[in-house]
């Protein structure tokens, strides 16, 4: 979440709350067009140049929130087009899960160095003098850069005494760690599906709110309403997300009021991931594998698969906490449905993969869950609860913060082999992950445990979060401290047979 983008965040969340309300109240999806007027009332534009475009964009957002594809201006017909296909109670959406809403994209220029009107046309004109491509000329009103010649070295920018020269990239592309943003024929952003790892960073960074992921909040609510036993597994980063006065226990109680049968911390699965990764590291590194990468962040794993296939085998074979936790539920309740609720867009993609899709029926974000609370007028902070949550250990709960996974695995290794020295490195943000892996491939990280997190600050910085990372970090730490299990090995919720020896 990028907290200073108030309006964009609010529009996104209003759409989730609206779709949740439609689903809970069994309203007719064919009348979805009315909602564009409800969400964008009146005739004065507030967000964009005119109210018609505002409604057109929100219409596409509503469609994405139902799991449909965003359409271009050439394709847009009635808002309810194809809507009967998503009016179901099972997962329907298909990749791409992250897409540009073309009618909202302003086609920002790609990487550019240019001279603003702060140029004083000074006599010294160092900008011209330092340009290695002789691309700067002094014209009538000031210096001008010949964009055809410019190689974006930034020297002129650094020399200008008036700070009149700026260098920027389009925010979506600048935020993409795997260089997956290209341009279409109108200069608008387009996501290269071969490169994209669905981390969701561009969704947070676009200042026009023109990139969005699909949601399955509607189908989830329908699944609850059709009488399925739906279990929620909630990511370790949930603590503190739903208001400063809402305790983790109240969040669980609020979720149950939505019609969910039971809630389990994904920290339980994180404990299994820790146990397995520690065992694997002790057995494999450095004899059989030069280094080991953690396995919990799907965007990080996908990035390694796509960019560094030759070292892909060195990513831990352990399943993700989401998968272990879902196993735990489906083993005893084979007919139940499981929804993963987290900060994460890439989990939506992970849940579509073979060997995962049968365990995880739905994935939604904290923001989408908030929309459900608002639609049902649930105030979690006012629910009285006594039971403590005891699904996960201290270090399992720590997975949510960057460095937490490596910390958990090392702590476990030391329980088994107290004298073993384990060097770790943690990369936060996809671009940092790419850098770390590049060096690892060259053999410069041998013997190490490498933690990769596609989001800055780890999961608490994910695109589906509600509160700022600093606030979330504190809440996660407090909740971790409250765990009754110091070690994942002590976690008695896990079947002893499941724990590796």
């Amino acid at each position: 979440m990028k907290e200073s983008y108030n309006d964009i965040i609010n529009i996104r969340r209003m759409v989730f709350a609206d779709i949740a309300r439609i689903a809970y109240d069994d309203l007719d999806l064919k009348k979805l067009g009315d909602d564009t007027y409800r969400l964008i009332p009146g005739e004065k534009a507030y967000y964009r140049e005119d109210v018609f475009r505002e409604r057109a964009v929100i219409a596409e957002r509503l469609r994405l929130a139902l799991g449909l594809d965003a359409r271009t201006a050439a394709e847009s017909g009635p808002i309810s087009e194809g809507i009967e296909n998503v009016d179901v109670d099972t997962r329907v959406y298909t990749p791409p899960l992250v897409a540009v809403i073309k009618i909202a994209c302003e086609a920002c220029p790609t990487k550019t160095v240019f001279i603003t009107d702060n140029c004083r046309k000074c006599l010294a004109h160092p900008c011209k003098n330092v340009c290695p491509k002789n691309a700067v000329t002094i014209e009538k009103h000031g210096a001008v850069i010949d964009q055809a010649k410019c190689i974006k070295c930034g020297r002129c920018k650094n020399e200008c005494p008036y700070h009149a020269i700026v260098e920027y990239d389009r925010p979506c592309a600048a935020s993409c760690g795997v260089d997956a943003i290209k341009s279409d024929y109108l200069g608008r952003a387009e996501i290269d599906a071969d490169k994209c790892v669905a981390c969701g960073n561009c969704i947070q960074e676009c200042p026009f709110g023109a990139i969005s992921d699909k949601s399955e909040i509607y189908q989830l609510i329908k699944a609850i309403k059709s009488g399925n036993e739906v279990y929620d597994i909630i990511a370790t980063s949930f603590a503190g997300q739903f208001g400063a006065l809402t305790t983790p226990e109240q969040i669980f109680a609020g979720i149950r009021q939505l019609g969910i049968k039971e809630v389990v911390e994904v920290g339980l699965g994180a404990d299994l991931t820790t146990l397995n990764e520690a065992k694997e590291f002790i057995e494999e590194v450095p004899e059989k594998e030069p280094f080991m990468g953690t396995s919990c962040c799907y965007s990080w794993k996908l990035m390694v698969q796509k960019k560094y296939p030759e070292v892909n085998d060195y990513i831990s074979e352990s399943s993700t906490p989401m998968v272990y936790t879902s196993h735990h539920i489906k083993k005893n309740n084979p007919n139940s449905k499981v929804v993963f609720i987290g900060p994460c867009v890439s989990k939506k993609l992970e849940a579509l993969q073979e060997h995962v899709k049968e365990y995880v029926d739905f994935v939604i974000t904290f923001e989408e869950l908030m929309g459900m609370f608002v639609a049902k007028e649930i105030e979690p902070s006012e629910i009285e609860v006594e039971d403590k949550i005891t699904d996960a250990s201290v270090t399992g709960r720590g997975y949510a913060v960057g460095g937490g996974v490596a910390n958990a695995v090392v702590a476990r290794i030391h329980e088994v082999k107290p004298d073993m020295v384990v060097k770790t490195e943690c990369a936060e943000g996809l671009a940092e992950c790419v850098k770390m892996m590049k060096l690892a491939k060259l053999g410069l990280k041998n013997g190490m445990l490498l933690e990769g997190m596609a989001c800055e600050y780890g999961c608490i910085g994910g695109p589906g979060t509600i509160v700022t990372s600093s606030r979330a970090k504190k809440s996660v730490a407090d909740f971790a401290k409250a765990s009754p299990f110091a070690s994942p090995a002590d976690n008695d919720n896990i079947d002893p047979e499941q724990k590796p020896r």
Binding site: E3, R13, G243, V374
Partner: protein
């Protein structure tokens, strides 16, 4: 000055935490600088749903500044109210 920031479901969804963050940031930055009225104090309280959103739709986030209710409060609006008061002894002259 007493500010109550509602952190009910609607207000949290519509950015109450952002307002809290900006008030905390003011306390750590501008309000530590010389020139603040010595009589000025800022007390930020986090409160449960104050019920405004149940009376009328689309009013979140709600902030109460010295018993005056601000509906659809924005961080810039609340920050400027705080700073106007903190520096009122300079402004009025």
């Amino acid at each position: 000055m007493k500010i109550k920031v509602c952190v009910g479901s609607n207000c949290t969804m519509m950015g109450a935490d952002g307002i809290l963050d900006s008030l905390e940031n003011l306390k750590e930055t501008i309000l530590t600088k010389p020139g603040v009225n010595p009589a000025f104090t800022l007390d930020v309280e986090i409160v449960r749903c104050v019920g405004e959103c149940k009376k009328k739709k689309n009013v979140s986030p709600v902030v109460v500044v010295d018993d005056v209710i601000y509906r659809n409060a924005s961080r810039e609006e609340i920050m400027s109210i705080v700073l106007d008061k903190a520096f009122d002894h300079i402004m009025t002259k």
